[in-house]
Amino acid sequence: MSSVPAESAAVAAEERRWRLLPPRLRPRAEELKGRGELRLLETLVLVLVGVVLATATINDLARQAGINHRLVADLATWRHYTGHDYHNISIDQETLGVDKHREVLCGNTSPGAPKSRTQICLAIWGPVVDGMRTVHGGWYLPAYVENDLPDERYGCFGIGGLRRCSR
C-alpha cells in the first residue's frame, strides 16, 4: 500500500533529474509502445545480417569441401610418386602462393617419426584427374628441419623447384 506513493515519488525525482534534456533524449524506465518501426528496422537488419552470415558459411563449407577434395588427391599423388604409404605428410598451401591451389607436400623418404628422416617435398598443382594431380617438381629437406625455408632446401628439381633452393 505504502510502496505506491514511494514509487511514484521516485519516478518524479527521476523525471526532475533529467528535465534539462529535451523529451526525446530523456531516459525511460520502459520503452514506449510505438508503431514498432524501429523494431521492424532492427529485425530487417538482423535478417539481412543472418542471410549474409548463412551465405558466407555455406560458401566456406563448399570451399573447404573443394580444398579437402584437392588435398585428398595431393596425398594420393605424394604416396603414388614416392611409393611410400605414409600418413604423416605435411601440406603447405602458402609457399607457392595463397589461393593459387598449388601445394607443397613434405614427408619422410624412409620410415621413422615425422621429420626424423630426410624429407621429400613435392610441388603439386593442376586439376584432379582420377583422384590425383600433377607433380611439377620439388626439393629435399634434411632430417629434423622444422621449417621449409630456401636455406634448408637442396636438390631442387622440376619447374616447381626452380629457384627454390638457396644452395
Partner: protein, 463 residues
Amino acid sequence: MSVAVSSERRAAHIRSERWAPALATLLGLLLVAAAAEIVLDGAAGISPLIPKSPQIAGWLEGVGERLGYRVFLIALLVSSAAYGGLIALAARARAASEDAASGAGAGVVSKRFAIVLIAALQLIVFAGPILLSTDVFSYIAYARMGVEHGLNPYTHGPVAIAGLCPSGCDPVFKYVGHDWLRVATAYGPIYTLLSYPLASLGVVGALWGMKLEALLASAGTLALTWRCARARGFDPVAAILIVGANPLFVIYGLGGAHNDLIMMLAMMAAVSLTIAGTPTGRREAGAAAWVVAGALTKATVAVLLPFMILSRRRLAPILGTAAALALGALIGYVAFGIHGIDVVAALNRDAAFVSTDSFAVEIAHLFGKPGVFPVDHDLLKAGLVLILVHLSWRTWRGYDWVAASGWALLAISVTSTWLLAWYILWPLPLAVIARDRRLLVATLAVQALFILHQISPLLVPVQ
C-alpha cells in the same frame, strides 16, 4: 462448424499429448547417447579431436574406438538435432500451458526430466577426457609458472618453463598448445589467482580441479538462470534446458573445462542480483561488483556494465564498479605488477588473432579474399562500436538491459576474427531470460551456423 474445428483441435492435442513425452524422452536419450559416444571414443586414445593429455579417463578406455572426425561430427549433428527438437517441444508445451482453453502440455518436459537430463550430460562429459582444446593446459601452465617456478604469467609464456625438455621441463609443458607456448596469459588476475591453489596438485590433480571448477560454474550458472527466468515470468525448465543441454555448452564448453563458464557464472550472479528480488542500492552495487569480478576472470563480460548503469541511472552500480575495480586492480597489481592489470594490452593482442571459424574470415572468402587484413580488423571494430552505441541508446530509452548485454556479447563474438565455439555461449544464458526473444533466435542461429561450418570433413573426408 467452429464446434467441429474446436473438437478436432482438441482431439489432435490429446493425440500429441500422448506422443510428446515419449518423443521428449527419445530426444533426451539421443543427446545422452551422442555425448557418451564422443566421451567413450575420446577416452580410447590418440585422436585429432582430443588434445594430448595425461591419462585421466583410462577407466573408460577399451569401451569405445578412436574418435575420428566422422563419428564426432555425426554425434554433434545428432545432438544438435535432438536439442533443437527438445527445445521446440519445451516451447510448444509452454504455449499449450498458456492456452487457457486447453490448459495442458506443461508436463511434456518436466522439471525432473530437465534436471536429470542436464545432470547426465554434464556428468558424462565431466568423467571423460578433455575435449577439443588445449586451453585448460595453458591455464594449468600459467598457474604452475606462478606457484612452482616463481614466474609472472603476465610477462612470460609457458615456454619459460620448458627447461631442458624433454627430461627436465615442467610436466604440463608438453600438453600446452603449440600456438600458445610464447603467449602470456590474457585472463584476468582473479582467475589466475583462483587457479593457483590447483598448481601444487600436479598436472592430473590440477586437471581434475579445473574440470570440477567448470562443472560447478556450469551448475551455478544454470541455477541462476532458473532463478532469473522465474523472476521474469519465463518458463525456468525451458530456460535451463536451452542452456544446459546445448551441445556447444556441454561438448565444447564443459568438455574443454573452459574458464568462460566461470565468467558466465559471475555474469549470471550480477544479472540475478538486479532482476530477482527487490532492487536496492546494495544489490545494484553488488551486481556491478560481480560484473567486475567476471571481467577480472575474462574481460569480455565487462560489456554488461554500461548497459547496467544506463538502465539503472543510479549511483550504486557506479560505486560498486569503482570499488570492485579498485580492489581488483590492487590485488592484480600486488600479485602480478602492472602487467596483471593491463587488460587493454591483452585484449588488443588477442583481437589480432584469426581463426578459420570466424565469420569475418568466411565473409572475406565470400568476397574472394584469402583472409582478413588489418583494415578488416578496423572495419569490424567500427561496426562493433556502432552496435554498442545503438544498444546503449536503446537501453537509455527503456530497452531491456539484459537483452542489450546479450546482443553486445553476440556482436563481439560475430565480429571477432578469433571465434571459438565457447565464445558463442556467452550470450546464451542472457538470451533465455531477455525480454526480446529475437536474441535467443539469433544466438541459436549463430550457433547452428558455427556447427554447420564444422562439417566439411563429413562431406569430403581427408585420409
